[in-house]
């Protein structure tokens, strides 16, 4: 047991309003502020982006309808290619009643080494009754020295449908670089009618005992959370849970899946691994398996993932 260390203080407000700038290297001291707000609505049989605002280097690269007009696939792009110290990214996505959207990113989110100020990303997702949001960003990679804060709120209406994931890799494993210094802060919150029903709060330092602890990461550099909810999933949760667990058993990745009853009515998947690829493959398989319940349709893999 670690002795009484310095108390972990509440998350500081790491907001900043830095200027915009040109292309960057992987070490940068000044921060950029970028935001993107999207609102999707159902118009007849189609889902349309009725609001699309961006500020700074964060935008939607394109909207595609590979599954027909009912479901919009949007690709979120952060042109600088990485998040540096002092950066602040705000992403807000709202789905109105009956809208369906799938959002992903063209590549991993790279959190660069931060000289002093940390970087922060805020994601706010809200899903109305009868709407379906699939939130499938590629993994976040923390470079050595990264000081990252991720805040995410997922506000679900009682009859909302959603599937999403969050994958974090500590260190540039492909380059043989471990994550030796820095911190990773997270505040992840799922709410139902404004009431929190699932919270994860983390303040992980690079030398944190949780990285080695058998209750923490047990030495794994990659960890992921996925969540699923929908009225169909709630009605058929035993079958959905059994199907998801059968998929997890077939993968050689430590994974646990649980169903949280009302007021949460939420399926939660946790996994850890030695590399992001294997964890991603597991979550993709689970997304495929659960999609008939969460999105009432067979999965269609975003083509950008093949590039």
């Amino acid at each position: 047991m670690p002795s009484a260390a310095a108390p972990r203080l509440p998350l500081p407000d790491e907001s900043a309003s830095p200027p915009e700038a040109g292309p960057r290297s992987d070490v940068q001291t000044s921060g950029w502020k970028a935001s993107l707000a999207l609102r999707f609505a159902r118009q007849g049989t189609a889902t349309r982006a009725v609001e699309r605002r961006h500020h700074g280097p964060l935008r939607v690269q394109r909207m595609l309808y590979p599954e027909g007009p009912a479901c919009c696939h949007a690709l979120l792009l952060h042109p600088p290619g990485g998040i540096a110290g002092g950066d602040r990214l705000d992403i807000a996505v709202a789905l109105e009643e009956g809208a369906r959207a799938l959002l992903t990113t063209p590549g991993a989110a790279k959190w660069y080494r931060a000289a002093a100020a940390g970087a922060r990303q805020d994601v706010h997702l809200s899903v109305a009754d009868g709407a379906c949001l699939e939130w499938l960003p590629q993994e976040a990679i923390l470079f050595d020295g990264a000081r990252a804060a991720q805040h995410a709120t997922i506000a679900l209406a009682p009859r909302a449908a959603t599937f999403g994931w969050d994958i974090v890799q500590l260190g540039r494993l492909a380059a043989g670089e471990a994550w030796r210094t820095g911190h990773w802060h997270q505040h992840f919150r799922v709410t139902r009618a404004g009431r929190p029903v699932w919270i994860e709060r983390a303040r992980l330092a690079a030398d944190d005992p949780l990285r080695a602890s058998p209750l923490g990461l047990a030495g794994h550099p990659v960890f992921a959370t996925a969540w699923a909810a929908s009225p169909a999933l709630d009605a058929d949760r035993e079958a959905a849970l059994a199907a998801a667990r059968a998929v997890a058993e077939a993968h050689d990745v430590p994974c646990g899946i649980t169903w949280l009853a009302a007021p949460a009515e939420l399926l939660v998947i946790r996994a850890v691994g030695e590399g992001a690829h294997a964890v991603r493959a597991l979550l993709e398989a689970l997304w495929h398996t659960l999609r008939p319940w969460t999105a009432s349709r067979a999965p269609q893999r975003p083509r950008i993932w093949n590039t």
Binding site: R201, H220, V268, R270
Partner: protein
């Protein structure tokens, strides 16, 4: 109401910390049984590591600051704060079984508290606020119990941490299995670390933003326990 932990009030602390408290804690291992199944716990040393990490990295960083926030809210009879912190406590439990444990022991502790005689400090206002928490989280109820029993924060946290350490050690004795002497040795060492741990909790701001619950393997193992074939414990 006195709020010192002196000998005059020691029986109240011992009763609250006792393994005989009828809250069903003995039927929960808080992931320890699943850790054995997965091989993460195999023997006395790994069982002690698991319990020590649970206390220091999970409890002290997670529910303990919220217990303090609830202790303050009970002092102010602040209904909104009590409800908000109670929601946080429930939502921080990341699996069905960990939630079940927190809710079932919370309900049982509330029943126990409301049934105690000679407890004028538990007023009608406390009872009404307790009944308004649906369901009452373990730490929410434990905080009001400590307060109306006249324990200060340090005393209440000691009672809570000791009962956790003792319950998890008893689970390890059954599960690993361990001899009684080995179990007592673990408890002796865990107990020796509690004062420093509780000072750490008392130095942490008593607000929800302090409460961290990042423990992915605990969540994974707890979720896997739901379908574990052979099990003695409910969590």
């Amino acid at each position: 109401m006195t709020t010192t932990t002196d000998f005059a009030n020691l029986p109240a602390l011992l009763q609250l910390a006792s393994a005989a408290l009828p809250v069903g804690a003995f039927s929960h291992s808080l992931g320890l049984e699943a850790a054995l199944e997965a091989g993460a716990v195999r023997d006395a040393a790994s069982a002690e590591r698991w319990i020590a990490d649970y206390l220091a990295l999970v409890w002290a960083e997670g529910e303990a600051p919220l217990w303090r926030a609830q202790y303050a809210a009970w002092g102010a009879l602040d209904a909104a704060a009590l409800a908000g912190h109670n929601d946080e406590l429930l939502a921080l439990r990341e699996t069905a079984e960990l939630r079940l444990e927190g809710e079932q022991t919370g309900r049982s502790l509330a029943q126990w508290l409301k049934g105690l005689p000679d407890l004028p400090a538990l007023t009608a206002a406390h009872r009404a606020l307790l009944d308004a928490l649906q369901p009452p989280a373990w730490a929410s109820v434990h905080a009001v119990a400590a307060r109306v029993l006249g324990l200060d924060e340090r005393g209440g946290l000691h009672a809570l941490a000791w009962s956790l350490a003792e319950n998890l050690t008893a689970a390890a004795i059954k599960l690993v299995p361990l001899g009684q002497a080995a179990g007592q040795a673990i408890l002796r060492r865990l107990g020796g670390r509690l004062p420093a741990l509780i000072e750490h909790v008392l130095a942490t701001p008593a607000v929800p933003a302090s409460a961290c619950n990042f423990a992915p393997m605990l969540g994974i193992l707890s979720a896997r326990h739901e379908t574990q074939y052979t099990r003695l414990f409910r969590s």
